[in-house]
Each structure stands twice: as structure tokens, then as C-alpha cells.
């Protein structure tokens, strides 16, 4: 803004003397146009699948099957797919299961991470530096490396095809990252603040509860959002450990329930997908800054 204003201000008086300024502005304008073109191309690329998803979800089965139509446009929009999903079948059950697992995981994750991060950021103890590094390395362990031995373990615990096995397993993905970024946020709180609290008479739990948690609230929000989106999106563990529709969560349930043999109910699949994508999208829309803070914190904090 200020750049263009300044350019106009200088360009206005002695025109011949400042002809160069005009060319810089023209260059800038072309660069900007180029930028917008590039952005538009990628926005189309990035938004095509969700757009097509939405269009399909609004079509009746007959319209989907009709090959003479333009597949990108919905002719006669209908909510019948959504209606069918919400009133018949196990979609509501899956949704509820996803909510239960995700909320439980978030709660467990945040308690574990906050306690551990507080200890690791503020109390030096034997092995604390090693442990902090260990937390980061754990975060880099993908679940595809561990699901087979966990399959055995969960089976022997009698938790196979049990929703609560997910609550047990999801923290392995969320806790390391959340602990890691909370260590970063806690470390950025000036040391004098705990000293002041110490002199004011706070014990360690009061310090955590009344000083650290309120001060690091943006970080906590970012970590919570991360834990939520990761739990909501988890696919491998339910795929491996859950079988029956009663226990299933959304990510797997949409496909497993709506594909009967060779009949793909694409309208309902897409409607289910839209609704399943909605919670993270809403969180993203309303808390974008915290979402992005959590995303970028991994590499820059700690």
C-alpha cells in the first residue's frame, strides 16, 4: 500500500524527471498480474476435487448415472443423499464414534502433553534433554511402521474391534508432536515470570495452572487443533483394528458401508465425505491463525 502511495506522490510533480518510476510501476503491475494468474490456476487445481465432491453429493442417483450430462454441473440439486445418510444406515453411528474417539484423544493428549512439556521446559532433571529429543524422534515414527506389532498387542488385550482401542492408540500420533510444540511455547515464557510467581507464593501446579496455561493459550489452542485434525483424519488404525459397523469411525466407514459389491453409491459417498470433511474445515475457517501456527510450529519451535 505505502509503496504505491509513495510512488504516486513522487510521480505526480515533475513528470519528465521521474519517468523511470512509471516503468517500475508497470513492471510491478505485470508481476502482480502474473502472480494472480498462477494463483488462479492452483486454486482451480486445489479446489476441483472438493467442488466435484459437492456437486456429486447434490445429484440423484439417476442424474449421476446419466452419461450424457455434464458431470461438473448439477442439473436438479437434491439433498436426498444427505437425508438418506442421516436417517438410514450407520452413518450417524460412525459420526458419533469419530466424535467420541477424537474428543477423548484430544483430552488425553493435552493432559499428557501439558504436564510433560511443563516438566521438560522448566525442570531440569536427569535425562530431560534426552527425553525431549526422544519426543521429537517419536513424532517422526510413522504409524505404518508399528501397526503390525500393535495388531498383535491389541488382539492379546482383547481390544480388537473395539472403539476404545483407538483412544489408546491415537495418542501415539498426537502426543509427541503436541508435547514438542508445547515445550517450545513454554520455553518462550520468560523465566522471570515463574520466579515472580515463586516469590508470590505459587507452587508448581499453581504455576502451571495460573501462569503457564493462560500465557501459552494460543499455543495450547494450536496443539489442540492439531490433535483434533490428526485424530479425525486417522485412517490406518481403524482400518486395521475395527471391523464391525457398530465400532467403525467415519474415515473407513464411508467406503466400507456404501460400497456393496460392485454398486458404488457415489452420491451418498460424496455426501458422507462432505459431512466428514466439515468439522476440520470449520475449525480451519474460524481458527485459521492457530491452525497455521500449529502447522508451522514443529520446525520453528523448541
Amino acid at each position: 500500500m505505502s509503496v504505491t502511495a509513495a510512488a504516486e506522490a513522487t510521480a505526480a510533480p515533475a513528470a519528465p524527471l521521474y519517468r523511470k518510476v512509471g516503468s517500475i510501476r508497470r513492471e510491478r503491475r505485470w508481476a502482480l498480474i502474473g502472480a494472480y494468474v498462477a494463483l488462479a490456476v492452483f486454486v482451480v487445481f486445489f479446489l476441483t476435487p472438493p467442488f466435484h465432491m459437492l456437486m456429486t453429493s447434490l445429484k440423484s442417483s439417476a442424474e449421476i448415472a446419466d452419461l450424457s450430462n455434464n458431470p461438473w454441473i448439477v442439473q436438479s440439486p437434491t439433498l436426498e443423499n444427505y437425508w438418506a445418510l442421516l436417517n438410514h444406515g450407520s452413518y450417524p453411528r460412525h459420526f458419533l464414534n469419530s466424535v467420541i474417539v477424537t474428543l477423548s484423544t484430544v483430552a488425553i493428549t493435552m493432559v499428557i502433553s501439558l504436564l510433560a512439556a511443563f516438566a521438560l521446559a522448566r525442570m531440569r532433571f536427569w535425562g530431560s534433554a534426552t527425553l525431549a529429543t526422544g519426543v521429537f524422534l517419536t513424532y517422526l515414527v510413522p504409524e505404518t511402521l508399528l501397526f503390525i506389532p500393535l495388531f498383535q498387542t491389541i488382539g492379546s488385550l482383547g481390544l480388537y474391534n473395539n472403539l476404545w482401542a483407538m483412544v489408546l492408540l491415537y495418542p501415539t500420533i498426537t502426543v509427541p508432536f503436541c508435547t514438542w510444540i508445547m515445550i517450545g511455547y513454554f520455553s518462550s515464557i520468560p523465566k522471570e515470570l515463574d520466579e515472580a510467581a515463586l516469590i508470590d507464593g505459587a507452587n508448581h501446579f499453581q504455576m502451571l495452572w495460573k501462569i503457564f496455561i493462560p500465557v501459552a493459550l494460543p499455543g495450547i489452542l494450536a496443539a489442540t487443533i492439531f490433535a483434533f485434525t490428526v485424530s479425525w483424519a486417522q485412517f490406518l488404525y481403524p482400518m486395521v483394528f475395527l471391523v464391525s459397523s457398530e465400532q467403525m469411525v467415519l474415515t473407513v466407514g464411508i467406503v466400507s458401508d456404501l460400497i456393496r459389491g460392485d454398486t458404488f453409491q457415489w452420491g451418498m459417498i460424496m455426501a458422507g465425505a462432505i459431512m466428514a470433511a466439515l468439522p476440520p474445515l470449520l475449525i480451519y475457517a474460524f481458527l485459521m491463525d492457530y491452525y497455521i501456527a500449529g502447522l508451522t510450529a514443529g520446525a520453528t519451535k523448541g
Partner: protein, 366 residues
């Protein structure tokens, strides 16, 4: 209200580095004591040991007659003002000041009474609902002090509280702190690296250097009778001139021979004091304010000599003139009306009543 005693207090860090090397200090009830010294001299560590934020490696600290070595900060009944204020960013000014009392389960109306009283003393009554973010540096400083006052502790501890303020505000807050102390009369330990702050605030100043106490005394004592070369150089601005000289015996009196063959007579009443050093090398110490244009020549022990100024710094109310005696820079303070010109010899007068002699080997001032 209480006195504070430090007995042979040592702070040793991992790897055997000693930040504080066994200091003794008695601070009287209601006294305002300033610890001053260059960075790394151990003054902040000492303060933090009194606060209980650092463990004491050996020796003991007593507050109000009770040894507090093993007592956590919250039970020492102290309050501290930090360099960066350490206000809780998520609490209002009122909550910041009330926090310590809330944790100690004071009744609500007692808290309110104390906070409002402190706010009145510090003139921050209108700010009580604001968050620290919305305050200026000076206001934050006041809130930090308010947080200490409401607690009505045995001891106030200040850790360089003014160093984050600009020069003008610093002078103003200095006055404020002095006023507050005169009102509440709480024993105060104040740490600073600024000797002007130390001199203006303190009942007694403790000059520290490299983990030991160089000298303890009132500001006047430190200025007029520094005990060591370090104190002589640290207190006073511009710093005391220290010129290598030879103490000569001549005709029953002592003479100082400065570089450039300037000879100054040592005052007769000091002959006996300086006699043991006669014939040896010494450091001749004299403050710039005692090195002036020739004046009061009728008084005893005023000696004159000539030198050529190299740098002239007019400050308005006075003019600093720097000349060199064979490579030794010397600063003099002249009346601004005296004409001085770079490179042209002019007369100076040294008030030898105010001279010091320093033994170069031990650094002791005789």
C-alpha cells in the same frame, strides 16, 4: 521489617566457577542498600540468593534473624521487582498485584484495601483494569513495584529495575522509588550497574567486583575515601584520573614526579601516611573535578602545572578537557568561560587536598 545478614556466602556453579566468593554483609532494618558493580560481578546472584531463586553453595543468609538457606522463596516473606517487570500478561493490573495475596488466601476486602492503597501510593489507580500490554514502560514499572508493596514483605529486592527505561524516565522513577521507600520504610536491597543510581538511592552502597565486596559505605564515603583502586575508578563520572608517578623524597617533604616532569608537592599532613612508599612507583589518583583552571590559589595544597589540551568537550555547564602526559590520558573539568584551545599549552590547578595514592601492586588506596 527486618535486617538481612549474609555470612561467608558462596555461590559455585557446575564446573567450579564461583560467582560469589564468600561475602559478609549486614543490612540493617529499614535500610536501603544498593549492590553495584560491573556485569558479572555477582551482584544479581547475591540478590537471587537472598530471594531464594538460587541455592546457596555455602555460608548462610538470615532474614529477620532466621536462617533462610533451605526456605523456599514463597516462605521468605520477600518481594522482588524484576528488570523486565515480569508482569503476568494475562492478568489485569489489579490481578497482578493481588496474585500473591490471593495465593496466600487473604480475605477479599483486605486484598482490595491493600491494592488500592498501593495504587494510591504509586498513582496508578486508573490503570487497575488494564492488562500489562496496554501500559507504558514507566507504568509497568510502577505496577511491578505495586505488586511488591501490597505484600508488605520483610524485604524488597530490586534487580536492575530501571535499566529498561529511557534516560528521562529513569531519573523520574529513581525519585519515585526513593519516595516509596521513605513512605513504607521496608528494608531494601537494590541491584544496579549504574553508579549514579547507586549513589542517589542508597543509604549504603556495596561495591562488588569479581564475586567479592570491594567496599561498603555511604555514598559520601565511597566518593571521598575509596578503599581500592576499583572503587576509586568505578565511583564518580567522569572517572578518576590515575597517573603513574614516582614518590620522591626531597628536603623533608614528599614530591610526586608525574610523566612529563611535572612535580607536585605532597601535602605536609600526609607525609607520614605516604612515607612507607617513598622512593617507589605509585598511581596518583585525582578526580577531574579537582583538576581545574587555576583558582583558589591562596588555599593550601593547590599546585599548578601546564599542559596542552588534545580534546575539548564543552558540556554547557562545564568543559571537559583531555590532555596527555606521555601517553597517559588525563581529564580536567574547567569553567566554560575559560578559553581552551586544542594544542595550545594552558595552566591547570590540582587540588591536592583531594588526591589519592594507590599502591599499584595491591590496588589499595592509601
Amino acid at each position: 521489617m527486618a535486617q538481612v545478614s549474609l555470612r561467608r556466602v558462596v555461590k559455585e556453579y557446575e564446573g567450579g566457577v564461583q560467582a560469589v566468593k564468600g561475602i559478609d554483609l549486614e543490612i540493617a532494618d529499614e535500610e536501603f542498600v544498593v549492590l553495584v558493580g560491573p556485569s558479572g560481578c555477582g551482584k544479581s546472584t547475591t540478590l537471587r540468593m537472598i530471594a531464594g531463586l538460587e541455592e546457596i553453595s555455602s555460608g548462610e543468609i538470615a532474614i529477620g534473624g532466621m536462617v533462610v538457606n533451605d526456605i523456599p522463596p514463597r516462605d521468605r516473606d520477600i518481594a522482588m521487582v524484576f528488570q523486565n517487570y515480569a508482569l503476568y500478561p494475562h492478568m489485569t493490573v489489579y490481578e497482578n498485584m493481588a496474585f500473591g495475596l490471593t495465593l496466600r488466601r487473604f480475605p477479599k476486602d483486605e486484598i482490595r484495601r491493600r491494592v488500592e492503597n498501593a495504587a494510591r501510593i504509586l498513582d496508578i489507580g486508573e490503570l487497575l483494569d488494564r492488562k500489562p500490554k496496554a501500559l507504558s514502560g514507566g507504568q509497568r514499572q510502577r505496577v511491578a513495584m505495586g505488586r511488591a508493596i501490597v505484600r508488605d514483605p520483610k524485604v524488597f529486592l530490586f534487580d536492575e529495575p530501571l535499566s529498561n527505561l529511557d534516560a528521562k524516565l529513569r531519573v523520574q522513577m529513581r525519585v519515585e522509588i526513593k519516595k516509596v521507600h521513605q513512605t513504607v520504610r521496608t528494608t531494601t536491597v537494590y541491584v544496579t550497574h549504574d553508579q549514579v543510581e547507586a549513589m542517589t538511592l542508597a543509604d549504603r552502597v556495596v561495591v562488588m567486583n569479581q564475586g567479592i565486596i570491594e567496599q561498603v559505605g555511604t555514598p559520601q564515603e565511597l566518593y571521598h575515601r575509596p578503599a581500592t583502586r576499583f572503587v576509586a575508578g568505578f565511583i564518580g563520572s567522569p572517572a578518576m584520573n590515575m597517573i603513574p608517578a614516582r614518590l620522591e623524597n626531597g628536603a623533608g617533604a614528599l614530591r610526586l614526579r608525574l610523566p612529563g616532569d611535572i612535580v607536585l608537592p605532597v601535602p605536609a599532613e600526609r607525609t607520614q601516611r605516604y612515607a612507607p612508599l617513598a622512593g617507589g612507583e605509585v598511581l596518583f589518583g585525582i578526580r577531574p573535578e579537582h583538576l581545574t583552571e587555576p583558582k583558589n590559589l591562596d588555599r593550601p595544597n593547590i599546585a599548578t602545572f601546564e599542559a596542552a589540551p588534545e580534546v575539548i568537550e564543552p558540556l554547557g555547564m562545564e568543559t571537559l578537557v583531555i590532555f596527555s602526559l606521555q601517553g597517559n590520558e588525563v581529564t580536567a573539568r574547567l569553567d566554560p568561560a575559560v578559553p581552551a584551545e586544542r594544542g595550545r599549552k594552558m595552566p591547570f590547578a590540582a587540588d591536592l587536598n583531594q588526591m589519592h595514592l594507590i599502591e599499584p601492586r595491591t590496588g589499595r588506596v592509601l
